[in-house]
């Protein structure tokens, strides 16, 4: 009976998170298009509902009611499996994200590794989709995209290692807590300036590398070489339409928001209030979390709007010859600083 109750509780939490996430993504998608439009002096979607607020739901209905087409020469099972993999994996990573104090569905000890593992699996959706389509452009795009994601995972891994060394734990909740206790603000004797405690300040170069690698990892412009409409038509999604395409897009945006949430947790103090005084502390943690995620996403959207697309060889150069050495050296530097100054947390 108790097992059943625990199971029902987890199921309920998961459903709640899923619904909240999907509604959030509907508006994040709209925001993405609106910001892009505003930069280009357009209006963006403004017809469906007031200020175009229901645009994403209209798109959803359109995708769902279209006829799915499956290419005759494709591997049909894998062709339909690929979007499912992308979407399910992207959503399952959210199980460990603490959106507020104690609000993670699974508060596991290896939370960071879990997120890293799941996001490294995301490449399979793309590679299987590209291969199963049995078409030239999707295949080329899948290879490109897989190489790109594998390359940038390396630097993301090292950036995460530096944060882990500072926090002394692989648990996402613990990482946020360790940012609340100590840091610049505590040493200056002004602990209420909580935002100075967060890791964005001491690990600022890592934040930049993490942000750019996150753009590359999620195939966002300026690194959207998987899509590259000018050379590869629409990349690995070329043969997809209707609901399978919707699942790909959904998976992509879920992992983008996941990367925003990871940036928030690792560098921006998660759910903690920026200033540790009322009225800021009256606001619930989840609100701060959402605000920070939106802030990071705004940066994602602005980058999409005003940075031109990278050339593929330059993308590889940036990943392997610039970010990898910098993050590797930073791991050493951070380790030395922590050890020599005795700031490393006991444990």
């Amino acid at each position: 009976m108790e097992t059943f109750l625990a199971f029902a509780l987890i199921l309920g939490k998961s459903l709640l998170l899923l619904v909240a996430l999907l509604v959030f993504i509907a508006y994040i998608l709209l925001a993405d298009r609106k910001i892009w439009a505003a930069v280009q002096l357009r209006r963006g979607p403004n017809v469906v509902g007031p200020y175009g607020l229901f645009q994403s739901f209209a798109d959803l209905l359109k995708f769902v009611f279209k006829e799915p087409t499956i290419p005759d020469s494709s591997n049909k099972f894998l062709f339909l499996l690929a979007p499912l993999i992308t979407c399910v994996l992207a959503l399952s990573a959210w199980a460990v994200i603490p959106v507020a104090e104690g609000w993670a569905i699974a508060n596991i000890n290896v939370g960071v590794l879990y997120v890293l593992a799941i996001s490294s699996l995301g490449v399979y959706g793309i590679i299987i989709g590209g291969w199963a389509s049995n078409s030239k452009y999707p295949f080329l795009s899948a290879l490109r995209s897989a190489a790109q994601m594998v390359s940038y995972e390396v630097s993301i891994g090292f950036v995460i290692v530096t944060v882990l060394m500072c926090a002394g734990s692989l648990n996402l909740t613990e990482i946020v807590r360790s940012q609340q206790d100590q840091g610049l603000a505590t040493w200056l004797g002004v602990p209420w300036l909580a935002f100075l405690n967060w890791y964005w300040l001491p690990l600022f170069p890592m934040l930049i590398i993490f942000f750019i690698s996150a753009l590359a990892e999620t195939n966002r412009p300026p690194f959207d070489l998987a899509e590259a409409e000018s050379e590869l038509v629409a990349g690995f999604m070329l043969e997809y339409g209707s609901t399978p395409y919707l699942l790909f897009m959904l998976g992509e945006y879920v992992s983008i928001i996941l990367m925003c949430a990871m940036t928030t947790i690792l560098f921006l103090g998660g759910w903690s209030a920026p200033i540790d005084l009322p009225p800021f502390t009256w606001v619930p943690g989840v609100v701060w979390f959402v605000i920070k995620v939106c802030l990071v996403f705004f940066m994602f959207a602005m980058t999409k709007a005003f940075v031109p697309r990278y050339r593929y060889d330059q993308l590889m150069r940036l990943g392997w010859k610039v970010f990898l050495p910098i993050s590797l050296v930073m791991v050493l530097v951070v380790a030395f600083v922590l050890q020599l100054t005795g700031w490393a947390q006991a444990g």
Binding site: L78, L113, L116, A117, F139, A146, Q314
Partner: protein
């Protein structure tokens, strides 16, 4: 009860997909089944409480090694009719190797041939090494790996480094006469080094 059910689920899928890796007709589906096998093995690790190993298995093997497998398999053109033609010819050798391997496994892990006293001493030694309660298994592995086995660990790292350098040396080609982008050179260029102003006399050209 639940754990047992999950164990049989993971183990069953693991063995079935491992069989499909060698039975599959298409190399790409073979690799995909291999990935499924890794995944279920990670599930088994989680069931025995080794969550760090499970995550590492997924990150390293599924996330990186299997991707490279897929790359290679998608690129090469394998003729399966030819591969299967020699099947019966190599069957006795395969069976022999399999039997030898099975016997070795039984010798190592089975109590059939090994004196139980030895196994008990080994278990006692392992228990003495076991970390205190309350240490997460990431910490436990770290404490052992970076203290008692530091040199072995470093040596393993060097072996991988040598393998990596070897692979790069094998594939590195310096073709003469190929134009390459040199970022350093591009950044180094300034107005003075790249623009030359000449006053051209009228009606004479340069």
């Amino acid at each position: 009860m639940v754990a047992a059910a999950f164990f049989y689920l993971f183990a069953g899928v693991c063995i079935a997909s491992a069989f499909m890796v060698i039975a599959g007709r298409n190399p790409v589906t073979s690799v995909l089944f291999l990935i499924l096998t890794f995944f279920n093995a990670a599930g088994l690790f989680i069931l025995i409480g080794a969550e760090f190993l499970a995550m590492m298995l997924v990150v390293v093997y599924v996330g990186a090694v299997a991707v490279l497998f897929l790359f290679v398999v998608m690129m090469i053109d394998v003729d399966f009719a030819e591969l299967r033609s020699g099947f019966l010819q190599f069957l006795p050798v395969g069976v022999l190797v399999g039997i030898v391997f099975l016997i070795e496994l039984l010798l190592v892990i089975g109590t059939l041939f090994v004196d139980p006293a030895i196994l008990q001493t080994a278990a006692a030694a392992a228990a003495a090494d076991a970390p205190a309660v309350g240490v997460t298994n990431t910490e436990a592995i770290g404490l052992v790996l970076y203290t008692d086995y530091l040199f072995v660990f470093q040596a393993a790292g060097f072996v991988l480094l040598v393998a990596m350098i070897g692979a790069i040396v094998l594939t590195l080609r310096h073709k003469p006469g190929v134009k390459r982008q040199d970022i350093g050179k591009q950044v180094e260029r300034s107005h003075e080094t790249s623009v030359e102003l000449k006053s051209v006399p009228s009606r004479q050209g340069v």
